[in-house]
């Protein structure tokens, strides 16, 4: 039933393929988490400045993406992304056919989804910073950049870390949906292997165990980070 011999490394088994697939899952997760955090910062900024238009756009974006299944967002970006990029290129006078590779599309799609979750976390932790601190920094003559990097972000990171850890777990699990685009990550690899070997149970359980390892290890990492960042605050 469970064929251990199919999981050895080398040509006889799928061990090395699964190792590469696991690294691919990690790569997509890290890239899209990073891009997602960047998008989330922009979204939070758009929500917090006193501008009705940017606030409306940001709210529209987070509401729609969070209300629509992740799979649908991935399909939309995977099948519609090329057309959008080509029409943007056309504006700049570039008329040839452009095809984004699977990794780029996967990263963008997952980032668009994870940014909506990250933005909620970042916004909540930004709001915990009291206004007096920003005013005090301004009174010391700090400019906007140093206020952001020296006063706001250290505190936001500390408050947001548990939430960001949750978003990371969601992002990691969402990368399994990327398999529908053909990018060979854990899920796709397990489907390919089980089609070749006619043993879905073996490879799907392998995939489940790999995901479990990834989530467990990363939750440990985030716990350590949290301890690190809450030095002097923890009880």
């Amino acid at each position: 039933m469970f064929k251990f011999d199919k999981l050895v490394f080398g040509d006889a088994g799928w061990g090395d393929e699964f190792l590469i697939a696991t690294l691919m899952t990690l790569l997509v997760s890290i890239l899209s988490m990073g891009l997602g955090l960047f998008l989330a910062i922009i979204t939070v900024w758009a929500k917090l400045i006193q501008n009705k238009i940017t606030r409306f756009i940001a709210n529209f974006y987070t509401t729609v993406i969070r209300g629509v299944p992740e799979l649908l967002v991935i399909y939309l970006i995977f099948f519609g992304g090329n057309a959008v990029v080509m029409s943007i290129a056309k504006v700049f006078g570039y008329n040839k056919y452009i095809e984004l590779n699977a990794l780029t599309i996967a990263t963008i799609a997952i980032a668009v989804i994870s940014a909506t979750y990250s933005s909620e976390v970042l916004r909540a932790s930004y709001l915990t910073i009291s206004k007096g601190q920003i005013e005090a920094a301004r009174a010391l003559g700090m400019n906007k950049f140093s206020i952001f990097f020296k006063v706001i972000s250290p505190q936001v990171i500390r408050h947001a870390l548990p939430g960001i850890g949750n978003v990371w777990q969601i992002t990691l699990k969402d990368t399994s949906l990327i398999s529908v685009t053909g990018l060979v990550e854990i899920m796709r690899q397990s489907r390919i292997s089980s089609n070749v070997e006619h043993s879905p149970l073996t490879f799907l359980i392998t995939a489940a165990i790999l995901y479990l390892c990834l989530t467990t290890i990363s939750s440990r990492v985030f716990k350590t980070l949290e301890l690190n960042y809450s030095k002097g605050f923890s009880t």
Binding site: G67, P69, G80, S176, L177, M187, L201, I205
Partner: protein
């Protein structure tokens, strides 16, 4: 004006909208079974998790750990492709359910929501103040009465917002069942895309319907919150 209406009626999104709408009942069918069953099982699992029987509590904790640590897609595939490949399951009565993508979807969604729900309910149950349980005990409440009159009402009321979140995640999760050839809204949208080569129109039509479904879910949860939190209403 009439020209404008005609152009809307002839547009792809409009036509796709009604095609995708025909999959709405399949999506709702998935939810109608997995959500109530998931709710009841999650409550039982949460009670088992906080119980003093170590073996039961450990078992449920590891079940929750495994389900929350793996993607839903793996669980769906494991049940649909994985279990179907095992010979003695194919020969047992389980095969009547497991050969249908619909029942595989229902089973996977239920297993998933039970794990998340149990964790939410556990949080609610453990957040109840000891004094409230003690006052119940001092009135001579038995275990069952304590559960029914004090623990469950307070805990459920507290976790309504986060359980509402889980309900919305479940609505979104039904789209994954389309990958087992079950024709609900996402499956139909993908079929339209394959036929017309117009992906954006097909998926936007489906997206609008999912947004609507989630909107209804949010309103339902809001109503429940209003109903069961009379002490928080501003004016009554």
């Amino acid at each position: 004006m009439i020209e404008f209406l005609n152009s809307i009626q002839n547009s792809l999104i409009y036509k796709n909208f009604f095609l995708v709408l025909s999959g709405l009942d399949n999506t709702i069918l998935l939810l109608l079974i997995s959500l109530p069953v998931g709710f009841v099982l999650a409550l039982l699992f949460a009670l088992g998790r906080v119980s003093k029987i170590a073996l039961l509590s450990r078992t449920i904790a590891s079940y929750i750990f495994v389900i929350r640590g793996t993607p839903l897609l793996v669980q769906i595939y494991l049940i649909y492709f994985g279990l179907g490949s095992v010979k003695f399951i194919r020969e047992s009565f389980l095969w009547y359910a497991l050969k249908e993508p619909f029942w595989c979807g229902v089973i996977a969604l239920t297993i998933n929501t039970v794990a998340y729900g149990a964790e939410i309910f556990r949080g609610g149950i453990q957040s109840i103040e000891k004094s409230q349980v003690e006052s119940g005990l001092s009135l001579g409440f038995g275990k069952f009465l304590l559960l029914r009159k004090i623990i469950l009402p307070i805990a459920l009321r507290k976790v309504l917002p986060s359980y509402g979140n889980e309900l919305i995640l479940m609505v979104k999760a039904t789209s994954l069942v389309s990958l087992t050839t079950y024709m609900e809204m996402t499956g139909i949208a993908r079929k339209i895309m394959a036929k017309t080569f117009a992906p954006v129109e097909a998926f936007i039509a489906a997206g609008i319907l999912y947004l609507f479904l989630n909107f209804l879910m949010v309103q339902f949860v809001k109503y429940l919150e209003w109903k069961y939190n009379p002490h928080l209403r501003l004016n009554n």
